[in-house]
Structures are given as structure tokens and as C-alpha cells.
């Protein structure tokens, strides 16, 4: 299994990154100028990485499907970004953040990567602040923090409820600065369809120009995937509606291994679905659980208004079940607890699939002004959508698909199993194990982008300084372009009756029912059959109107849905293989008597890494054993 060398450096955990950095090769400024790097994606990860690599002197070609890098999905992150500044003297440290992430991830993440993510976190805040990101401040002028789910210290920096926007715009501004200098060339409105490999190395991409419909070939010495997550597999999710695993799938199909695909975070606090036309679910930030108390009525089917239910008749079930962490338990636990209440008939709202998030006590204690200051824009957002004011009535919330811990497998250098192909941000699998802690995605994406990839990629490129510019006339480019064209032709020629949106909705329902918050072997097996059936139907009955030689959003969507079938199956294979419950992956067959997840470290303390074998074919499973040198593996308890 030579291919699965994680390249974890030797030495004590706290020294690994420093030692590793000292051992990595460098590329001289003169040579950097001669080398090209392709960056697909402009979220917090891609924008930071492209800006950094441009600054270092590489020629960076940057791609996104939006009309501007500033619109990447990262822009929607709300609650905050973690860093181990310990500004509050609450005994925070790199080790504590590392430990919180390892434990939060239910001991299914790679120690060395997680430690490094914690190690670089402080520099991210400094970098972003220097770039003019207006993080929230105290009256005295210093940065302030708040606490976030799953931890007992206050280390989350934020910019109201729009932290993702501000972090992304900070990195976007750095990207624009490099674009102005000419080190970065922007290619917006491009849909990447294929990765081009030459002699086994990633050398370029094929993409469709979304304005002209033309196929384009782009070459480089290395290619980076910063393409985000695949949470839209459930159709309704908190993600931007055009997010998808399409790009990761293209890499997987070309030979990049895919790790832990079934580890998908379901966020506990989203505005429940209001109607069948709905295109996405809106997140209500986890930070709200700092002051909001989660409850359901003690009586089943209680139809009274929340204000009419006296306190004694309310079940603050998180406080009841998890007294140590209460409302601040990690997301997977909070989500399952809500599902448990609703399945048992205690849910509220029209469908009975919602619970309350109540601020009345906090408003009483702290005053409306303080609460408004902390959450004003989230309350407004909630009121805009539901017509109810959280100042007067508790919010109704229910879990929804949110973040994919799984992704392209990468080694310590963030390189996939295809030499020269890297994956950063949500697109890789590396730092969150089976469950991600709040405010650590912006941190990991920005860390990968500013402080990890720009260091590690030199080690690969140092051996490429003799490689001249790569011609896009090579047969490999030709073949990859033809492959993409053939795929499009195939879809265009089906001439059926059903739109890609309708297929996506159906796929989403299968995935939510079979591979959502709780899974079991029987359901998962049925899921595979259902997906195959739906895919067959897709290739018989898809309808794409319009043409290929101009803007065609129906085609864009159809291509994403086509890629989703294989990802959906991959999720299910992985969930079926993992006969244990850990983090967000909850197999009903494996639970304790009181309904907690039952992990099986004897058999499953590994990363499941999948190798593509063809469409609708069972992929090959490789295992990366997880070795814990530093932490003692324990049953996770928040009680």
C-alpha cells in the first residue's frame, strides 16, 4: 500500500510541524516565476492559498464558478473562527484546541494534522486583522471572543453573525491585491469538469466557460482543489445551492482516493423546512446556544404556544441528559437528541419536526440590549424568514446537513494520492475526524491556505523546476476534453421530461432517509438500490433545454447532479462498512442503552479510504490506521 503514506513526521507531536518545515525543500524566487499553479476554488481556503502563492512569486491561475471569488460559499459562515490566543487567560492553549478537536471528532482524525491546525490558528487572526477584517472588539479596543459548542473556553473570534463573509472578504482582498500585481490570473464563471494527469501527475484541468459554453484547457505544474464540501447531497442543506462534490468527484474518478465520505455533519439549529418548494435551509448559528436554551414540551403532541407552557412542563433535554455541557454539547449530539425527541412525538411546529431554542431567560438576565448586540442580525434573519420575533417567541429549530468532514484523502503535506494534486479546506478530510467542532472550518481552511499549503507545496515543486511550461496540446488534454464533451453530449441527448432539479430533490430525499442522522444496514442497502434506480432513470428521462454554446444553467446543474450519484453511493458504502457509531456517523445497531453512540476502536480506529473502480461498482477500501501517540483514546462523554 505504498500509495497511502501519510508522511507524518517523526518526533514529539509539538515539534512535528517545526521539524517538518525545516526539512522541506525550497524553490528559489527565480524558479517560482517559471512555475504555474492552478487553484480551483476561492473560498477561505482557495483565496488564502492563491494570495499566498502569488505573493511568493508563483503564477497562480484561480477558478470559481461564481462571477466573483467573493461569492464563494464560505461567505455564508456565521458564528466565528477559533484561535488559541488565550486572550482571556482561561487556560486555553494549542494543546487544548488540539484535544478538543480530536475528542470532538470522536478520535477519528489524524493527530499530527489536527495539532498543526491548532498551532497555526493564532497567526490566522493576526493575518486577517492586518488585512482589515473588522473582528468584534471590546470597549477597551481589544479583540473579543465567545465560546462555541463542545468546548469550555472562549476562543472564538467573530464579526457579528457574518464571520465567514468578513474572513472571506479579507482573503479576497489579498487575492485582488495579487491579481493587481499580475501574479494571480482570475478565471471566474468556470465549471471544472476534469483533472488532467500526465505520467501520473496532475498537470491541468478542463473546464467549461459558463458564459460562452466553450471548453477550456489549463495547464500547471501542480493543481489544488479548494472546492468545498458536498453537503448538498441531501438537496436541502445549509450550503449555498450550487455547492457540490462535483470537483472532488472528478479527482476521485481520476484516481485520488476519497476518505471517510460518510462523515457528514448535521447541524442542530436550522430553520425547519417551511414548504416543498424550498431550495435551502437557513442555519441559525451555534453561538446562539451560548444563551439560548433548547427544550421540547414534556407532554407528547403538546399544541400549546410555547409561552403558554409553564417551565415545569418543559423538558430542557440537553441540560437534563448532559449536565456538564448542557446546551453546549457538540453538534452531532445536539442533532441526534433533537431527532430523538421528535421521533418520540415530543416535537413542535406544524410537522412535529422542530424543537425550541429559547432566549427568554437570557433576555431576562442580561437585558434585550445585550442579546441584541450579540445576535441582532441572526434574530433579524430568523424573523425575515419565519415572520416571528425571537425576542418574543422561542425559535423553532431542526437539524440539517451542514458540513462534510469526509473528502479527498491527503497526506501531511495536503497532497492527494495523485502526485501534484492537493486538496485544502472542506474539500479534504484531514482535521475533523467524525465530527467538526464549531468555528474550526474557517480556521482549518484559512490555515491550510495561508500557512500550510504554501509551505508544503514547495517540496513537490522543487523537483519540478526542470519541467517547462506544460503544453495544453498534449494528447492527455485532448482526451480529457473529449471525455468532458462526451459527458455533456450524453446529457444533452437524453431529451427526456424531468429537470435536473427534480432529480436532485429525489436523490436528496433518499440520502436524508437512508444516510442522514441515523443509519442502519438494511436502510443503507436499500439506499444503494434506490440510487442506482434513480441514476438509471436520470439517464433515460433527463431534460435539458437550451444549447451548449452559451450560458445554460440547467446543464450546469445536470452535471453536478450526475456527479452526485457516485458520491451518494460512496457515502453509503462507507456508512455500511463502518459497523460502529462515531461522531456524526450513527448506526442504529451500535448504540448504548441510553442511546449514545457506541464506538468500536478495536476494529474501526482507521480512516476509510476509497479507490474508484468504475461507476456503480464497489470501490476498493484502503485503511489508514490511526495511531494516537499523544492522547489517550477515551469514550467521549459530555455528561
Amino acid at each position: 500500500m505504498a500509495k497511502l503514506d501519510a508522511k507524518i513526521p517523526n518526533g514529539p507531536l509539538a515539534q512535528k510541524w517545526t521539524n517538518h518545515k525545516n526539512s522541506l525543500k525550497l524553490v528559489s524566487p527565480a524558479n517560482k516565476k517559471k512555475m504555474d499553479i492552478i487553484m480551483v476554488g476561492t473560498g477561505v481556503a482557495g483565496a488564502a492559498a492563491a494570495a499566498s502563492l502569488g505573493q511568493m512569486g508563483y503564477n497562480v491561475k484561480v477558478f470559481c464558478f461564481q462571477d466573483s471569488p467573493r461569492r464563494a460559499h464560505s461567505v455564508a459562515a456565521q458564528g466565528g473562527i477559533n484561535a488559541t490566543k488565550n486572550y482571556r487567560n482561561d487556560n486555553d492553549s494549542v494543546y487544548r484546541l488540539f484535544y478538543d478537536m480530536i475528542k470532538g471528532g470522536d478520535f477519528r482524525a489524524r493527530e499530527a494534522n489536527v495539532y498543526r491546525a491548532a498551532e497555526v490558528s493564532s497567526s490566522i487572526i493576526d493575518q486577517l486583522t492586518a488585512q482589515g477584517v473588522p473582528f468584534a472588539r471590546e470597549y477597551g479596543g481589544n479583540l473579543t471572543t465567545r465560546s462555541f459548542g463542545g468546548v469550555q473556553v472562549s476562543r472564538t473570534f467573530y464579526a457579528q453573525g457574518q464571520t465567514g463573509q468578513q474572513v472571506l472578504l479579507g482573503s479576497y482582498s489579498a487575492l485582488k491585491r495579487q491579481a493587481a500585481k499580475g501574479s494571480v490570473t482570475m478565471y471566474e464563471r468556470r465549471q471544472m469538469l476534469e483533472i488532467v494527469t500526465i505520467d501520473g501527475k496532475a498537470r491541468g484541468i478542463i473546464c467549461r466557460n459558463l458564459v460562452t459554453g466553450e471548453m477550456e484547457r489549463h495547464s500547471a505544474h501542480a493543481v489544488v482543489m479548494a472546492t468545498g464540501g458536498y453537503g448538498t447531497i441531501y438537496f436541502l442543506s445549509t450550503l449555498a445551492v450550487n455547492s457540490s462534490g462535483e470537483a472532488a468527484y472528478a479527482a476521485y474518478k481520476k484516481g485520488a482516493f476519497f476518505a471517510n465520505p460518510s462523515f457528514i455533519q448535521i447541524h442542530p439549529s436550522c430553520i425547519p423546512q417551511l414548504n416543498e418548494y424550498q431550495s435551502k435551509l437557513t442555519l441559525m448559528s451555534e453561538s446562539l446556544r451560548n444563551d439560548g436554551r433548547v427544550w421540547a414540551p414534556k407532554a407528547q403532541g403538546d399544541k400549546r404556544k410555547p409561552n403558554e407552557i409553564p417551565v415545569e412542563e418543559r423538558d430542557y433535554y440537553l441540560e437534563r441528559r448532559y449536565p456538564a455541557f448542557g446546551n453546549l454539547v457538540p453538534r452531532d449530539i445536539a442533532s441526534r437528541a433533537a431527532k430523538e425527541r421528535c421521533d418520540a412525538g415530543y416535537g413542535v411546529g406544524e410537522t412535529g419536526y422542530a424543537v425550541y431554542l429559547d432566549f427568554s431567560d437570557a433576555i431576562k438576565k442580561q437585558g434585550k440590549k445585550v442579546i441584541e448586540n450579540k445576535y441582532g442580525n441572526l434574530f433579524d434573519l430568523y424573523e425575515k424568514i419565519t415572520g416571528e420575533s425571537p425576542y418574543k417567541m422561542p425559535m423553532k429549530i431542526y437539524p440539517a446537513g451542514h458540513y462534510t468532514m469526509g473528502g479527498l484523502w491527503v497526506d501531511y503535506n495536503l497532497m492527494t494520492t495523485i502526485p501534484g494534486l492537493y486538496a485544502i479546506g472542506e474539500a479534504n478530510f484531514s482535521d475533523h475526524g467524525a465530527n467538526r467542532l464549531g468555528a474550526s472550518a474557517l480556521m482549518q481552511g484559512s490555515g491550510d491556505g495561508y500557512f500550510v499549503l504554501p509551505i508544503t507545496i514547495n517540496d513537490y515543486l522543487a523537483d519540478e523546476i526542470q519541467t517547462p511550461k506544460i503544453s495544453t496540446d498534449l494528447p492527455e488534454f485532448h482526451d480529457a476534453e473529449n471525455e468532458a464533451k462526451a459527458r455533456i453530449e450524453k446529457l444533452m441527448n437524453i431529451n427526456g421530461k424531468t429537470s435536473p432539479l427534480a432529480f436532485h430533490k429525489k436523490l436528496g430525499k433518499i440520502m436524508w432517509d437512508r444516510a442522514g442522522m441515523a443509519r442502519n444496514a438494511e436502510g443503507l442497502k436499500k439506499g444503494i438500490e434506490e440510487i442506482n434506480q434513480l441514476e438509471d432513470e436520470f439517464y433515460k428521462d433527463l431534460n435539458i433545454t437550451g444549447s451548449t454554446d452559451s450560458m445554460n444553467q440547467t446543464l450546469e446543474r445536470a452535471l453536478r447532479v450526475a456527479a452526485s450519484f457516485e458520491i451518494a453511493r460512496l457515502i453509503i458504502y462507507d456508512a455500511l462498512n463502518r459497523n460502529e457509531s462515531c461522531g456524526a456517523h450513527f448506526r442504529e445497531e451500535y448504540q448504548t442503552q441510553d442511546g449514545e453512540a457506541l464506538r468500536n476502536d478495536e476494529e474501526f480506529s482507521y480512516v476509510s479510504v476509497w479507490e474508484y473502480q468504475g461507476n456503480q461498482k464497489m470501490p476498493n477500501l484502503h485503511k489508514e490506521d490511526l495511531v494516537f501517540e499523544e492522547v489517550k483514546v477515551q469514550q467521549r462523554s459530555y455528561k
Binding site: A48, S68, R177, A179, L381, G546
Partner: protein
């Protein structure tokens, strides 16, 4: 809910374009406006017709993709919302709704309701950043910023780059967009040093790209989905006066 939609259809940048009228019988009050557009497109696809191209992504008012004139107003009726946040409750059964793209020369139509806003990218490249290298940052608390100032900088930074301000302005000025960036940085010590030069560069680029000049009508502020305030234009003007002096000085050097 039954509605008539008068939608601008334009096959490409060179096409003249015209309104088409569609009837929709299955609209519902809890839809958002973009979900209504989804429903229209599903209907068009089922009829074998080309659906209406429009831009959207986050669908929660933060990415700035969605951009439509609805009944003659950028982002439609309502205050401080984007088109994706526009709720069908704002309309009446039987109503005729007119849907158009942003209309300004600086944002040429690509197709139907999709316009080319790359001019905003060029303005940003002209100066919408702080000149700081990755890796050279000092500890964040070295900068002290009063809460009030930080909050004001945040209000400016909340701009989503949608372009509604330009679409709303009779002069097609991008002043509010530019002012929001200039003001955000001018308010913070990290960005203040280059404030004058930044204002100069961004405004020069705005002029060069054919955006009109600002005559203080305030329609940008009224239609801005993020409530970016005119006071930022006032701050920009102050920076610009300084810029004028500095530029004159620089030319002498």
C-alpha cells in the same frame, strides 16, 4: 396564488432582448421570490423551453449573487433585503410582476437577468485591500480600535457587492460600493496609512470604467440590501479631498 410574470429575456449580450409574459398558477405565500423563479423555470423546462437565467447561490442574502429589478426596484419591494430574501407575502394574488436585470452600461447583460459585474472586480483590484504581506502581521491587539469604530467599520464591510446601488442610481454611480470599502479601511489603523491613495485609485478606476458620478440623491442607500450608509460617502469625500491634495503634491515630487 396566481401571478403574471413579465420577464426580460435576452439570449446574449448582442441580442436586443424583450419582455415575455408567463402565467404561474402554483405560487405560494411561503415561497421566496427565487423559489418562484425556480417554479417558473421548472414549468418552462417541462414545456421544452429555455428557462430564465438568473444568478443565485447562498439564498440567504450574503453572497451578493442574486440581482434583479423587481417591479422597478433593485431587489424588489422591502427594506434591506436581497432578492433571495424577498418573500411572496409582499405580493398580491393576481398581481403582474415585472422582472428585469440591473440596467446600467457598466454591467452589460450576459443573458436574461444575468449581468457582467466584473467592473466591480477591477475597482477592487485598483485598491480594495490593505498592502500587507502574508506572514508579516503583528499581534491583533497591537491595534486598538474602539468598539464604536470597529462597529462602524463592520457596517461598511457588510457590503455584499451586489450592485443594487448602481442599478438604483440615475447616474449609475458606484459611489456607495467604493465608499464602503474606502471607509472600512479608513476607520481602521491597519488601513488608514494608505487611505488617501486608496480613495484616489478606486475612484479613478470607477470613472475610467464609465460609472457616473455621485450627485447625492441617496437612492443607493435606500435600495442597499445591507443598509450601507451614505455617511460612508461623506467619509470618502473627506479622504478624496485629502487625496486631491496628496496627488497634487505627489506630482510635484
Amino acid at each position: 396564488m396566481k401571478l403574471t410574470l413579465k420577464v426580460w429575456r435576452q439570449a446574449g449580450p448582442k441580442d436586443k432582448g424583450q419582455f415575455e409574459t408567463y402565467q404561474l398558477d402554483n405560487a405560494s405565500l411561503d415561497m421566496t421570490f427565487l423559489e418562484l423563479m425556480d417554479a417558473l423555470n421548472e414549468k418552462l423546462i417541462a414545456e421544452g423551453k429555455d428557462p430564465v437565467a438568473f444568478e443565485h447561490d447562498c439564498r440567504e442574502g450574503i453572497c451578493g449573487s442574486c440581482a434583479m429589478m423587481v417591479n422597478g426596484r433593485p431587489h424588489g419591494p422591502g427594506q434591506e433585503i436581497t432578492t433571495c430574501q424577498l418573500n411572496m407575502k409582499a405580493f398580491k394574488d393576481g398581481e403582474t410582476i415585472t422582472v428585469e436585470p440591473w440596467r446600467t452600461n457598466s454591467f452589460p447583460v450576459i443573458k436574461d437577468l444575468v449581468v457582467d459585474r466584473s467592473s466591480f472586480e477591477k475597482i477592487m483590484e485598483a485598491g480594495g485591500f490593505v498592502n500587507v504581506e502574508v506572514g508579516s502581521a503583528v499581534d491583533s491587539n497591537t491595534y486598538k480600535v474602539s468598539k464604536a469604530r470597529a462597529d462602524e467599520a463592520f457596517d461598511a464591510a457588510a457590503c455584499i457587492g451586489c450592485g443594487a446601488c448602481v442599478a438604483a442610481c440615475k447616474n449609475s454611480s458606484a459611489m456607495l460600493f467604493v465608499a464602503a470599502k474606502v471607509s472600512q479601511y479608513a476607520l481602521l489603523p491597519q488601513g488608514k496609512t494608505e487611505g488617501v491613495q486608496r480613495a484616489w485609485n478606486m475612484l479613478a478606476k470607477m470613472d475610467e470604467l464609465g460609472f457616473g458620478s455621485c450627485s447625492n440623491t441617496g437612492s443607493c442607500e435606500a435600495e442597499c440590501p445591507k443598509g450601507v450608509s451614505l455617511s460612508h460617502i461623506a467619509r470618502l469625500n473627506r479622504e478624496f479631498i485629502k487625496a486631491g491634495f496628496r496627488k497634487a503634491g505627489a506630482e510635484k515630487l
